[in-house]
Amino acid sequence: MARVELKHVSKSFGASQVVHDVSLAIEEGEFTVFVGPSGCGKSTLLRMIAGLEETSSGEIFIGETDVTDAEPSDRGLAMVFQSYALYPHMTVADNMSFGLRMTHRPKQEIAEKVARAAKILRLEEYLQRKPAQLSGGQRQRVAIGRAIVRDPKVFLFDEPLSNLDAELRVQMRVEISKLHTMLGNTMIYVTHDQTEALTMADRIVVLRDGRIEQIGTPLGLYHDPDNAFVAGFIGSPRMNFLSATAQAGGRLAVGGIEIQSPVPTRFEPGTTLQLGLRPEHLDLREGPGLRATVEFVEALGSTCYLHATLATGETIVAERRSSLPRTGDTITLHFAPASAQIFGEGGERIR
């Protein structure tokens, strides 16, 4: 177990810079998720921690040691890859014991550790099989087993569930979370799937274009995002953003109605803002109401999502648990102004 710290870390490939001055501390035993859209630099950042990519500038510490220029093999990490990266010519047991064999550990110890990992991951009956004879979920468990066996200071996961089908993904998500609880190791997990981030993380790091947008707990990010990007990225369906104009007397014109501004900040009348409303906050019986025409009803069983158009032409998604309208109906979506979040034109949160 160890703490991981990045100090002003940057990475360039030739002329293009993909990671910009990232500073970040991951505490001992913490489960941290790097999340962001494709190309945001999250995998590159993880690979820099692993030592698979050189760090252009800045420093990386694992524990008390500066590992910025250390070989991957000397960093004491274990990594699980999206493609599993199992050695196809070795049995499951050999795959799992590879790291221990490379460092010439006693046979007795290797056997014990492999047996323990196989038990944790329920792989005992597959130990003599080759990876080609396993299913996707089993292969991913072997890849995790290979990491566990080495007792690493830090576990790194690079989109480990992306190659699995939806059902298996949910199951593995739970298993990895349980594993974290059981082993207590520091874990860094990269994903583009915000659901994975929300359900697994102690702390989430949201990245965009190689910069950290916000760091926080899952619920912290969900309820109190620092900017429109984080607000839109975390949560599914995503937050609705409506164009709002400041009026005199602390009022805002939005979606064809006027509401009292939920923030104490006084705006110049005429200032353009964005009002963020989560779909589940539009299911009230009272409060200000937005008139909307239902375009499509997405029924998911326990809940429903209404896709609708406002008088201003903006589209909006609202959650509805009872009394479903039909396509083409005109409805009123009530909400409490206090639940709305205000963002400036550049996307920054105004509190």
């Binding site: 692993a50 030592g51 070989e71 274990a78 990594m79 890859f81 493609s83 990266a85 790291g99 080495r150």
Partner: protein, 277 residues
């Protein structure tokens, strides 16, 4: 449907005629050599194309003992095996480096190796000879092993690089994170995974080295290899065709046997580099 099947069968039969002739043109010389190797000189002069009526192995025994083919055979085995092993080790290491590691001028080095593929052996014979003489490697088996390795290395490196480029990078990365040093990655991951390409390479290089006359003739002038020895037999015993064909059979047999054992590998292996590169 039945009509289509019939037509297809017919066209296959028509195609079989030139194929059969081609096969015959390859097989007849082998038959000729084996058949005449079993005749006495007298029988051969009477009927060179007829079957050997009283087959005898005298020619083989004579060629093997009196014409020093035993010694030549030994030379060929040593030099071919030495060069093939050296080629496999070096090309696998080089292929690993060129395909998987990042270092300055990597592409440039690869292009230089590739371009040396385009230079025919004949062009460099004079500088080659001077180098060999200067290094006192003439008439040594080591000299020939090194020469074969040098001449066949570009293609081998090219093929291993192409093969290794097709392997997922993550395998190497996983091994490095697992604590393996570069040589350990090569030995435990790249060598086993590269086996299909290396076996193909081994066979092709065995053929090349074993069948070579030119380089061997220059390098091993007194202490000959089998192929050089056979060529010499032709001059020494121009009236001894059965003895000569016996020598040919002895020289060709190991390669033919190797080819029969590995024929599937040879065909599928040649495509390996092509598809994955």
């Amino acid at each position: 449907m039945a009509g289509a099947g019939k037509r297809q069968r017919l066209s296959l039969r028509i195609a079989a005629i030139p194929m059969g002739l081609l096969a015959l043109s390859c097989l007849y010389p082998i038959f000729f050599a084996v058949n005449n190797a079993l005749k006495t000189r007298h029988d051969y002069l009477l009927d060179r194309f007829g079957l050997a009526m009283q087959p005898t192995f005298d020619n083989f025994v004579q060629a093997w003992t009196r014409s020093h083919l035993d010694q030549y055979f030994f030379n060929s085995v040593i030099t071919t095996a030495g060069a093939v092993i050296l080629l496999m080790v070096i090309s696998s290491l080089a292929g690993f480096a060129l395909a998987c590691l990042r270092f300055p001028y990597r592409r440039f080095i690869f292009v230089v190796i590739l371009s040396s593929l385009m230079i025919p052996v004949q062009v460099v014979l004079v500088p080659y000879m001077r180098t060999m003489v200067g290094l006192h490697l003439i008439d040594t088996r080591i000299g020939l092993i090194l020469s074969y390795t040098a001449f066949f290395l570009p293609f081998s490196v090219y093929m291993m690089t192409a093969f290794y480029s097709g392997l997922p990078r993550e395998l190497i990365e996983a091994a490095r994170i697992d604590g393996a040093k570069l040589l350990q990655v090569w030995w435990h991951v790249m060598v086993p995974l590269g086996m299909p390409a290396m076996i193909t390479l081994g066979i092709l290089n065995t053929l090349n080295c074993w069948n070579d006359v030119l380089i061997a003739l220059l390098t091993m002038q007194k202490n000959r290899t089998l192929m050089v020895g056979i060529s010499a037999l032709k001059g020494q015993y121009s009236d001894q065709i059965p003895l000569f064909t016996a020598g040919i059979v002895i020289a060709a047999a190991p390669i033919v046997i190797l080819y029969i054992i590995f024929q599937r590998r040879i065909v599928s292996g040649i495509a390996v580099g092509a598809v994955k590169g």
